[in-house]
Symmetry: C2
Subunit: 478 residues, 2 copies
């Protein structure tokens, strides 16, 4: 899009939804899309969030500003807003540096979220290479005193495969550091989980097991991982020096931002629409998950503009701390435990703003068919695919034990992992028109679920997890 046009969009003020529009008798999705393409409300929100607030990692000033802005904006849109308290981790990145000693190469490196730092002079050791978590065993004693590079690459296939490839490869990032430390590794490097090699480091959360030493852990670029692998393959183990200044400070208070479009007939029955307000610190979290935040806020505004309340309440939840803890998701589930049987559905959008495809869904018997009929209303937007899934979204995951039907906005995510968790997850990567369409798909589905005579069939809750607490094994953040 031309820069001039983009500028105009960013600067234009949101015009109030006109009454004439509300009286329109076109199909709902079509009406909402016309209004969204006219006002570009989702785009304006995303532009503000990314340009004016920027990165918003849990515990940072950016996160506080984002909570403030979201609450004020939803209030200005005419909603009664609650900031529900969440205690979030406060991890800070600090300086970071890595280099191969000989042959001399500077590596492009970024600490994994939650990693401990190195001593000020760094950690220096030879590198051994594992092709993913499963390959660690093969390395045997050679891990001792060394830096392990987990070098499993993501494949770049079509959209659902991309997310699956990410989940498969991500185990080396989430569980690799403790696994390697148990075998005597002094630090861990992980090949960036991504689908474009542009010397971009992809950060992301790791977690330490209680029974393993906490070793520094960082992502390096695909190019640097390939270089190290070639050097190792040629017969000499390269020595790498890694310096990380990251550390974990005291937890801080934050909030989930919650706003209701109150139902006219069954206000205590809730259709939840959700995204996460926090982001990683490297980029401005435009796709992840600024786009989702914009869709959710704009859905509420668009639906309020219809001029009459839905039968059930539509609730926007902008979660805190999805990226490195899921504290917001757990706090919401705990605070609203008594109401979850009356949560008739929860919709999450956290896969970026791309061509809308439909929804992934975790629903009870007959639910997929019901949804299949409903999404015919989205045929004009091409979003008619319902894909049964058990892992639908990280933030709505904690609603599973209560049997809340879960839906995730499904998009053509082939480019999502080009930018995911990198410095390049920025506004220019988002197409304003696709963002508008995604917002309308989300809004329309929320409205249909809130209006439906019968709620979706509820799925059976999964058996209790064998892990001691949700904190020990959170659903994998996207």
């Amino acid at each position: 899009m031309a820069r001039a046009a983009l500028r105009a969009l960013t600067c234009a003020s949101l015009l109030a939804v006109s009454v004439a529009w509300a009286a329109d008798d076109r199909p709902l999705a079509e009406r909402l899309l016309a209004e969204e393409l006219r006002t570009r409300g989702a785009w304006q929100r995303l532009a503000h969030l990314t340009d004016r607030i920027g990165p918003r990692l849990s515990g940072s000033a950016g996160e506080r500003a984002a909570v403030q802005w979201a609450a004020e904006t939803l209030t200005a849109d005419g909603f009664s807003v609650r900031r529900e308290p969440v205690t979030v981790p406060h991890w800070v990145r600090g300086e970071e540096q890595a280099e191969v000693i000989a042959p001399a190469h500077r590596l492009v490196v970024t600490a994994l979220g939650g990693s401990v730092g190195t001593p000020p002079h760094g950690v220096e050791a030879e590198v051994v290479v594992a092709d993913g978590l499963d390959d660690l065993e093969r390395l045997g004693e050679s891990v001792q005193g060394r830096i392990v590079l987990f070098n499993r690459a993501m494949t770049n296939d079509d959209s659902p495969a991309a997310f699956r490839a990410y989940r498969d490869a991500a185990t080396q990032r989430t569980r690799g550091p403790s696994a390697a430390a148990r075998k005597g590794a002094v630090a861990v490097l992980v090949r960036s989980l991504g689908t474009l090699s542009a010397r971009l480091p992809h950060t992301g959360a790791t977690r330490y097991d209680a029974d393993a030493p906490q070793v520094p852990a960082a992502a390096i670029t695909a190019e640097d991982a390939d270089l190290l692998a070639r050097l190792v393959a040629s017969g000499t183990l390269p020595r790498v020096r890694l310096r990380l200044g990251c550390r974990t400070l005291e937890d801080v208070p934050s909030a989930n931002v919650v706003a209701d479009l109150v139902g006219g007939e069954r206000p205590d029955e809730v259709v939840l629409i959700a995204a996460h307000l926090d982001s990683w610190d490297l980029g401005t979290g435009a796709h992840d998950d600024g786009a989702g935040v914009a869709m959710v806020m704009e859905s509420l505004r668009l639906l309020k503009g219809l001029g009459r309340p839905p039968r059930r309440t539509i609730r926007a939840v902008l979660y805190a701390n999805e990226e490195n803890g899921l504290a917001g998701a757990r706090a919401y589930a705990a605070a609203h435990a008594g109401e979850l049987t009356r949560h008739v559905a929860a919709l999450e959008t956290d896969s970026g703003a791309f061509v809308p495809l439909g929804f992934r869904a975790w629903v009870g018997p007959g639910g997929v068919e019901r949804l299949g009929e409903m999404v015919q209303a989205l045929a004009g937007l091409g979003a008619t695919r319902i894909t049964p899934a058990t892992e639908v979204g990280a933030d709505i995951g904690p609603l599973k034990p209560a049997g809340v039907p879960l839906l995730g906005l499904d998009v053509d995510g082939r480019q999502y992992f080009h930018w995911h968790h990198t410095p390049a997850d920025t506004l220019d990567k988002v197409d304003p028109e696709l963002l508008a369409k995604d917002a309308v798909v989300l809004a329309t589905m929320a409205w249909m679920l809130a209006e439906a005579p019968e709620p979706l069939p509820r799925p059976s809750p999964p058996p209790p997890s064998p892990s001691p607490s949700p904190a020990a094994a959170p659903a994998l953040p996207r």
Copy 2:
């Protein structure tokens, strides 16, 4: 290409060219290609240069190692090698950092080659935006005391247009800092000259005019330039703090590496084939110009393998200091001034290893037609395009006053400026098969020119430049 295969290529040792192959009676290009695809000699050289030596900016240890390696490798290939002395600048990058104060954003920044540093605490000022060098005038007094962002974007068109777009936009990088400083700017930022927005900074040389204050100058990414432009367009000038630790040390001795495949009949007539051995410091200079170095070295090896000398001498020149000074190019022209009338052609390759298209050519009357007939021998490789040009190559540019016919290997460079001068100009971006084809196109053309009964018609030297010396206005490095 699969990593395993790549590894195998890197490790395999170069087999000697077999005598049986030399007796082959297939057309030359076909024979050379078969040999090159069998041995992958160009690829092995490029892999060594980028993996084992890495970045090689003038004056650095990497540059010294590259000169040493190139000379030893050509010697091992059976050539008598000269290291012809060149005095090169020694500019070092140091730490670099830039940020928007409010709204807080960290910018991805890299100093322009040759820039002065900032004071240790940095330079802090408001930013004004110029759409390229020509737009500076419009800003008038507002430049005073401010940082000027030159924000002209490169368009991404087809190959010749990409190089033209680069040359057009590059004036803001080469001449912007002095132009802005004359109007009172305290520092200059330049939008990275590139065709992919992946938060990659593109460095490159700048130069200071004698009549202007020397202000710090750096490139920022396309994303960051867009951000600043949006903030400025919204009505408030963002304050930016820039810290650059770069500085220029004493000049150091370096060398052009020169090796001859001596002609059998007219040894004093020379067909020169050239690339530059230095690179920027951010990546490993795989496309720019490691690929060219590999093509030139491999051309000499392949042609020696033919088993008989060419009529004229084919001379490989690996130039020093193309990126930030062209000292190698000027030193060669000066040291060989007496022989240049017997240089029958000079071929440069400095556009990366992509699909070969043909040659750009600066030749005398009838020369383009002659070349058009000759390149029919390259039809199997698709390299039959002869494009008349006046700017053929930076390193062979100083041969123009002597009327040496100049040829530049022309490739489909649509992706060249994705990676050019960035940290991502790395080995994985080079396709081994295309590198092999390019090497063969270069070798075949050099052989044909060395064998031709009559040399190419010589062009008329351009009128003497009005600039006081070549040093003041070097041809634009690629």
